[in-house]
Structure formats: structure tokens, C-alpha cells
């Protein structure tokens, strides 16, 4: 199906498709690959892989020196603040035509990075873009529009170092399918409607602590024995002098229950209720937040966060019972794997540890700027809202960086990236959490090539899904040989 363009009468699809196969002139990046931008990127992505930043570790590694994070491949040639569409670039020309035909909204949907080799500081990157495909007009969830696919080729001198397939959807605003009631998450339930804890002299210490965001464990002032739930007398030494210690907030999921019915006010159903074992040894019941039902596993690491559930005033009057804060637990980020996994230690079906990524405005705005993406809706809330977005939203290059970090933290510092392919879905807005999950789908024990599929979900659904292809050392010997 095609739509008739308003000005020339020729179908817009045909006019845009005339550009397919054309390539842009070579573009040279404004700056050489450099350690300052790499460090800036690693800071915001929170990627601690030392081969990107630490010269001595990097030179002792399989890379033989500092390399740029592969996910930065299509960052280096970005124009920065002064973005203009160069009509000699066939993608820009296509987007301009589609804008004029009313397909004024743009959203990135796919990015597929293939790496021929790693980039090193000092290298000047050249790129050229070829317009590969313009789809028929399609009805998508966002609206009716065309998918525009381009391929960027990156080279250093005459050497091809990588390619990027990049697909955007250009669509008419306001033509999206209405989301069904089931898809709509609805407003967040008001936590003040949850049952309040019944507070008395025995448990006052706990709720006073919670108000100060301290998770307190009752402890005997005489012998140090600790208890939960609290008791007025130490059963070990007989003391009536009971105090508390403050928990670190680290723990693991001992058991869980997921209520669906009956549904009471103040909760979003199904509710994730966890029995959390603190590293100090006591347990407590709490909610698991920042992940979904399918992410729950007995034993998963958790960390404390807080919900200020009940304000000190209700209906304009001061509530004599005071404010209530509830301890909550979110999945804890697993420690970075500092040894590189060997191919023979990995098998299809292996699960990567779940990883929560808190979506802050700093991460979203900082990530956009660190990837030289100055599109205003990524860093300027006012502009984002003028464009009809509820808030700033994450750019695709930050997402690529977070995906790379997630897989690298599991695979280890010397895993050799071959490709990173992602598909984008629901936007990442501030205040949400994106939870990464992944698993190994294939390992070639001969070559060490491994494929990992991953997914990042937020409160709206899947933000990103994709695959990572990397080469793991096949054995101890091969690491040495590569060095």
C-alpha cells in the first residue's frame, strides 16, 4: 500500500525509493578515537572493563592496549550539537521527503553493529552511508509509517573496521493503534492506601528506623544476639535491654509469593512479595520491585530501597500515626566477572544474572551527550514534553552501551565482540528501572564463538531485545597464545 504525496502526485514510497542504493560522500569524524570520550562514556554507562581505560591492564590483555568500547562504533562520527540533515546523504534526503509527506515522527527501531576489529585511540574513522531499503507503508503500534533502513560502513584508512545497520520508523503522529486495556499499565496505585503497619512499643524501633530509611535489626545490648521479629527480652542472656543494628541492605530471596486475589487498594497486581534473607542472618517479608514475576528466583541477590508509602498528613490533616516508609528490595546487580569465561565453561541455556538498571535523568541525559546525541528530547524535559513525550527518553546509543556492559560484565574483560544487534520497543523514561536478562543460545567449542540473547524490560514492557556475538577463549592456552 502506498500513499499519494501531496505535492507532486507521485506516490511517496516511490519517490523515497528512488534514493535506495545511493551512498553518501565519505564523512570523517571530528575527533580521532580518544581516551577522554571513552572515559566519559564508561562513566555514564558504568562500564568498569579496564581494557577501555587502564593502560597497563589493557596492554597485558588479549587486546594489547586500550581499545574503544565496540558499542561506540557509530558514536565517533556524530556531528554533536549542530545536527543538520545533509541532503547529499540519502538517508537525510529520505527523511526530509517523509517529513514533507506528513510522516514527521521518528523512532529508532533496529541497530545492528558488526565489528571487524576494535578501534584504538588516535585512529581517525571515516564513514559512508548507503540507503538500503524503504518499506511499504505499514500500520504499527505507534502509527502508520515507513521503515527506513541504512547501512553505515566504517573504515580507518582503507581498512573496513565495522558496519552498522540502522533502521528507523517514520510515522504519522496520532495514527497509532489504541493500546488495549490489558496493555495499559494504568496509573500507579497510591501506596498510602496499603494497610498501615500496626505500631506499638515492641516494634516502634523498626518503624522509626524505616522513616529514616534505616533497616533496623533488633539486637541485644548485652550479648549481641539479634532477632526478627523483635522480642522484649533476650532469650539468650535474659537481658531486657534491647537495641538494634542497621542492616547493610544486602540480602537474597529466600522464598516468594505472588498474590493475584483478592485485590485491595494500594497495590498493583500481581504483587511480588519476597521473604528476604539479609546478609546479617535475619529474614523479613518485603516487596521485590524493579523486576517482573518471571524474574523471581529463590536465591537471587537483592538490595534495599525504600517506599515512602504513607505521608504524615492525610486528607490535609496531620495523621497522628506519622509517616510510614516501607523497606523494599530490588534485584542487585551481580559483580562484574573479572576473569574471562572460557568457551568450555559456557553452555547453551546458561542464564546471565538478572541486572537492574535504575533509569535516572542523569543516565538518560548524560548517556545521550556521551554518545554525541544532542536531540533535545533526550536531555531537555521541556522540549521532550513539547514533542508529546511524557519525559526525556533514552537514546539508542545509551541502550547499546548498557547492553554491551551487561553482556561484558558476565563474559569477562577479554571476551572479543563480533556483533551487537538490538531491537527497540517501549521507551526508557526516568524513574523506571530496566531489568536485563539474558541467556546463552549457542557456543562453538572450536572457535569459542558464543551467542547470547538478552532483553531489557521496564515498567512499560520490553525496551530492548537483542543478541550479542562474541568470541570467548577456547582454553587457558588460547588466552596465552593470543597474548
Amino acid at each position: 500500500m502506498t500513499t499519494t504525496g501531496s505535492e507532486t502526485g507521485a506516490p511517496i514510497t516511490d519517490r523515497v525509493r528512488e534514493l535506495v542504493g545511493r551512498s553518501s560522500p565519505f564523512n570523517t569524524a571530528r575527533d580521532a578515537v580518544n581516551e577522554a570520550m571513552i572515559r566519559h562514556w564508561c562513566d555514564i554507562i558504568d562500564d568498569a572493563n579496564p581494557v577501555y581505560t587502564d593502560a597497563s591492564t589493557a596492554s597485558a590483555s588479549v587486546f594489547g592496549g586500550i581499545v574503544a568500547p565496540p558499542a561506540m562504533l557509530d558514536v565517533w562520527d556524530k556531528p554533536g550539537l549542530h545536527l543538520t540533515r545533509d541532503p547529499s546523504n540519502p538517508q537525510s534526503a529520505a527523511l526530509n521527503l517523509l517529513d514533507a509527506a506528513g510522516f514527521t515522527s521518528t523512532v529508532a527501531v533496529n541497530s545492528e553493529l558488526e565489528f571487524a576489529r576494535y578501534l584504538r585511540p588516535g585512529e581517525w574513522l571515516h564513514s559512508t552511508l548507503t540507503l538500503e531499503e524503504v518499506s511499504d507503508e505499514k500500520q504499527t503500534g505507534l502509527g502508520t509509517g515507513h521503515f527506513v533502513t541504512s547501512r553505515l560502513s566504517y573504515s580507518v584508512g582503507d581498512e573496513l573496521v565495522g558496519t552498522v545497520l540502522f533502521r528507523v520508523l517514520k510515522f504519522r503522529p496520532g495514527t497509532g493503534r489504541a493500546r488495549s486495556a490489558a496493555e495499559k499499565p494504568g496509573p500507579d496505585p497510591d501506596p498510602a492506601l496499603r494497610p498501615r503497619p500496626a505500631i506499638n512499643r515492641d516494634n516502634q524501633y523498626f518503624w522509626d528506623g524505616a522513616r529514616a530509611h534505616e533497616l533496623r535489626i533488633q539486637r541485644c545490648n548485652e550479648c549481641g544476639e539479634q532477632y526478627f521479629p523483635p522480642m522484649p527480652r533476650c532469650r539468650r542472656c535474659g537481658s531486657l535491654s534491647m537495641g538494634y543494628r542497621v542492616a547493610s541492605g544486602r540480602g537474597s530471596l529466600y522464598s516468594f509469593a505472588v498474590p493475584h486475589y483478592p485485590q485491595v487498594n494500594g497495590f498493583r497486581y500481581p504483587v511480588l512479595v519476597g521473604l528476604v534473607e539479609l546478609e546479617e542472618g535475619t529474614r523479613l517479608v518485603s516487596n521485590v520491585v524493579g523486576c517482573r514475576r518471571e524474574h523471581l528466583r529463590v536465591g537471587m541477590p537483592l538490595e534495599l530501597c525504600w517506599l515512602d508509602s504513607h505521608p504524615a498528613s492525610a486528607d490535609g490533616a496531620v495523621d497522628s500515626r506519622g509517616a510510614i516508609s516501607l523497606p523494599q528490595f530490588r534485584p542487585a546487580r551481580a559483580a562484574r566477572h573479572t576473569e574471562t569465561r572460557r568457551a568450555d565453561a559456557v553452555a547453551p541455556g546458561d542464564e546471565l544474572p538478572l541486572c537492574p538498571i535504575p533509569l535516572t535523568t542523569t543516565l538518560i541525559a548524560g548517556g545521550a551527550l556521551a554518545t554525541l546525541d544532542y536531540f533535545d528530547a533526550h536531555h531537555d524535559r521541556d522540549m521532550a514534553q513539547q514533542r508529546g513525550s511524557k519525559d526525556v527518553f533514552m537514546n539508542i546509543h545509551t541502550t547499546l552501551g548498557l547492553c554491551e556492559r551487561y553482556v561484558s560484565d558476565w563474559a569477562g574483560p577479554e571476551a572479543w565482540w563480533r556483533a551487537l544487534r538490538v531491537r527497540l520497543g517501549a521507551p526508557n523514561y526516568p524513574g523506571d528501572t530496566m531489568t536485563m536478562t539474558g541467556s546463552v543460545t549457542a557456543v562453538d567449542q572450536g572457535s569459542g564463538e558464543a551467542t547470547i540473547v538478552f532483553r531489557g524490560t521496564n515498567g512499560l514492557g520490553d525496551h530492548v531485545s537483542g543478541t550479542a556475538e562474541l568470541t570467548l577463549p577456547a582454553s587457558e592456552r588460547s588466552i596465552g597464545a593470543a597474548r
Binding site: R194, P195, R196, P197, A198, I199, N200, D202, N203, W207, F228, P229, Y254, S255, F256, A257, V258, P259, H260, Y261, P262, V264, F267, P270, V271, V273, L275, T282, R283, L284, V285, S286, N287, R293, V298, S309, S320, R321, I324, L326
Partner: protein, 392 residues
């Protein structure tokens, strides 16, 4: 060695119940009085001979009102047991102690409520007052997080059973299938004529994961009463005496009210273990001497650790024990032959004691052959109680 003097010297001489329904259409007090009257009729005893009453602290029908309406002139014993569904066998124990000590001659144990059409337990525990009692304050550790109902409390244990012992939802389902098979042939059961399959169980909606709807007992309107007296007096009444061979209560270390989440292990029921030890020591019997059992089944998961606590199988082995129809009529240990609380009615376990009595008398609609001894248990996850009933 536990020696309970009332054990073997006391008996259940009468049982009586109202119909079990979803809407009784009458007051809870009337249900209590009707059930007591039925138990007295069953025994052939005039109400004025009763001088003891034993019930639950949760019971809303006070002894004085039951006494007035039954025409009991005076009471020398009245006792109540705490902790909800943990109480039923405890009321029989208190009654047995009272009659054996000569404190009373005939004691009625009763429980009646409009649990379906009136205040539903499944609706959950919500707002609790400030300045709470120690009992109310316990809810502070669970209610603000959405863990509000008995089903949700049991679910936390069920997840752990699945994790540690490899128990599956289908294993829980086998309990429901057995109960509903037995209910299907019991005209008094709510689910008379309505057996279920394992597929039905698996397809029923989640109430609190991992519990499906068909893992959860019903909510019932009704009343059940039992008449307890000495074995000697029971011999003079209408029915053959059903001997209280053992009766005990149990509460264990770090006990909470259905929320004993803070113990080292969540896969056992140590309070039921306290009962089991007393059952076997008092009666001199063991699991091999039991032909059929009424195992408390407000929710299916806790049936499994009960079988382990009483030694019908080893730790973690209940999931294997219950396969292949072992807990259905014709199996090694038919359970809940009245249909249990999942199939007959949820009368806080009191209807299960009545079924134990019928099995000993030989009058159950799903009669097991050659019954000498029946085990009956009370609520799980709570401080609890148990009975062994037998023939004289």
C-alpha cells in the same frame, strides 16, 4: 514418655452438623445450637445432662447463649482454644480432660459460622489499629507488603517446598483431586457429584502463586458439634463409643500465626511434629496402624509436610507417597474421605473429626475397610492439635 490419663478413657459419643452451604439464611448462633442439638440427638442424650462446652476463641457464639438456647441449666466447664483452625482437636482434648477429671460429665465441642455469607477469612487482614496489641502488631510484618490472606501466607511455604524438595504444583493438585473424588460421592459435601482432574487443577486461575484456585478450600456457612464424655458413660448412649486414643496440642519454637517465616527451615511443620510425638507415645501406635486419616487441608501444600511429620514417609518424600492414588479410596492411606475442607466444607476442621468418628463407626459414605485407628489433624502453620480415634 507422654502419659495422658484421659487417653483411652474418654470417647466421642455423638456428632451433629447443619447442612453445609454458601448462604445459611440464619444466624451463626442458630447454626451452633442446631449442630449441638444434632450431636445430642445422635448420642441420645437430653440437653440438660450437658455441663461443659468447649470451642474456639474465634467462635462468635458465646457459651452462655448456646447454653440458654439448648436448655442447659448449669455449666461446670467452659474452655476455648486459640489460633483459629489449630483448635478443633484441642477442644476435644480439653473436653476429654474435663470429663476424665470429673470436672464435667458431658461436654459439647462446637464451631459454627457464616464464613461464606458473613465475614470471609479469604478477604484478608487489612487495617490494624495504632497502639496495637502484640497479636495485632504481628501483622505489621506482612500486611503493608500485600501478604494479607491465609492463601498468601501458605504460598510462601509452598514456594520453599518446591525449591527444596522438588515438589510441583501437580503434587499439590493430587491432594485436591483425591479430596474432590471423595466429596463427589458424599451427599453432604458442597462438591457432591463434582470431581476434578489434575488438568482442571492446573488450569484453574492463580490465587496466590504458586497456589491455584483449586489448592484453596471453600468458604462455608454451617455448624458442627461433637459430644465428649467418659468411655464408661458413652457405653450407655445410643452409638458405639469412639475412643479418644490420643489427643494433643502442639506449638513449637519461633512459632508465628501461619507466618513462621523466620525459622531455620520452612519445609516442616514442627508444631505438628509436637502433636505427632504425643500421638504415637500416648497411643502406642505408629503410622502403620492408621488405616485412614483426616489431614487438615485448608490449602493443599501443607498436607505434604504433615504426612512427613507423622512418619508416613520420610522428609521430602511426601510428593512420592501421594502418587498413584495412594491417598484415595483403595490406596495405602485414604485421606479426607468426606472430601476434606476442599470438597465437603470448611468448618475449621471440626467436620473432619466427625468424619474420623464415622470411619471408626463404619458409617462413612466412603468407608475404608478394617478401620481400627484414624488420625485427625488440625490447622497447619498455626499452633495446632491432633487426635487418634479408635474402636473400643
Amino acid at each position: 514418655m507422654t502419659a495422658h490419663r484421659y487417653a483411652g478413657a474418654t470417647a466421642i459419643a455423638g456428632i451433629g452438623a447443619t447442612e453445609f452451604s454458601k448462604r445459611s439464611g440464619r444466624s451463626e448462633l442458630q447454626l451452633a445450637v442446631e449442630a449441638c442439638t444434632a450431636a445430642l440427638d445422635d448420642a441420645g442424650l437430653e440437653p440438660h445432662r450437658v455441663n461443659g462446652l468447649s470451642t474456639f476463641t474465634m467462635e462468635t457464639n458465646p457459651e452462655n447463649e448456646v447454653m440458654r438456647s439448648l436448655g442447659i441449666p448449669e455449666l461446670t466447664h467452659f474452655s476455648r482454644i486459640h489460633f483459629g483452625g489449630g483448635a478443633p482437636c484441642g477442644t476435644v482434648q480439653f473436653a476429654a480432660m474435663a470429663v476424665n477429671e470429673g470436672v464435667a460429665d458431658y461436654v459439647l465441642c462446637y464451631r459454627a459460622f457464616n464464613e461464606r455469607s458473613g465475614r470471609r477469612f479469604g478477604a484478608g487482614v487489612q487495617e490494624r489499629p495504632a497502639g496495637a496489641t502484640a497479636e495485632e502488631a504481628q501483622f505489621a510484618w506482612t500486611s503493608p507488603y500485600g501478604l494479607l490472606t491465609p492463601a498468601s501466607w501458605v504460598a510462601m511455604f509452598a514456594t520453599r517446598l518446591m525449591h527444596e524438595y522438588g515438589v510441583t504444583s501437580e503434587d499439590f493438585g493430587r491432594v485436591a483431586v483425591a479430596d474432590r473424588r471423595h466429596a463427589a460421592t458424599n451427599p453432604a459435601a458442597h462438591f457432591y457429584g463434582a470431581p476434578i482432574t489434575l488438568e482442571d487443577h492446573q488450569e484453574s486461575r492463580f490465587i496466590v502463586e504458586p497456589l491455584h484456585l483449586l489448592d484453596c478450600c471453600q468458604e462455608t456457612d454451617g455448624g458442627q458439634a461433637l459430644l465428649v464424655t467418659t468411655l464408661e458413660r458413652a457405653r450407655d448412649l445410643r452409638q458405639a463409643p469412639v475412643v479418644v486414643e490420643a489427643a494433643a496440642q502442639g506449638m513449637a519454637d519461633d512459632q508465628q500465626m501461619m507466618r513462621s517465616f523466620f525459622r531455620d527451615s520452612l519445609v516442616g511443620l514442627p508444631e505438628m511434629g509436637v502433636c505427632a510425638r504425643q500421638m504415637w507415645e500416648t497411643s502406642g501406635l505408629g503410622p502403620d496402624d492408621i488405616q485412614t486419616a483426616v489431614i487438615y487441608d485448608h490449602f493443599t501444600p501443607f498436607v505434604l509436610p504433615q504426612l512427613e511429620e507423622f512418619g508416613f514417609c520420610g522428609r521430602g518424600e511426601a510428593k512420592d507417597f501421594i502418587t498413584g492414588g495412594a491417598i484415595e479410596i483403595g490406596g495405602r492411606l485414604p485421606l479426607n474421605t468426606h472430601g476434606g475442607q476442599l470438597g465437603e466444607a470448611y468448618l475449621h476442621g471440626m467436620n473432619g473429626i466427625a468424619e474420623g468418628v464415622r470411619q471408626v463407626r463404619g458409617t462413612s459414605v466412603n468407608q475404608v475397610g478394617g478401620v481400627d485407628h484414624v488420625l485427625v489433624t488440625a490447622g497447619t502453620g498455626v499452633p495446632t492439635s491432633a487426635l487418634v480415634l479408635g474402636r473400643e
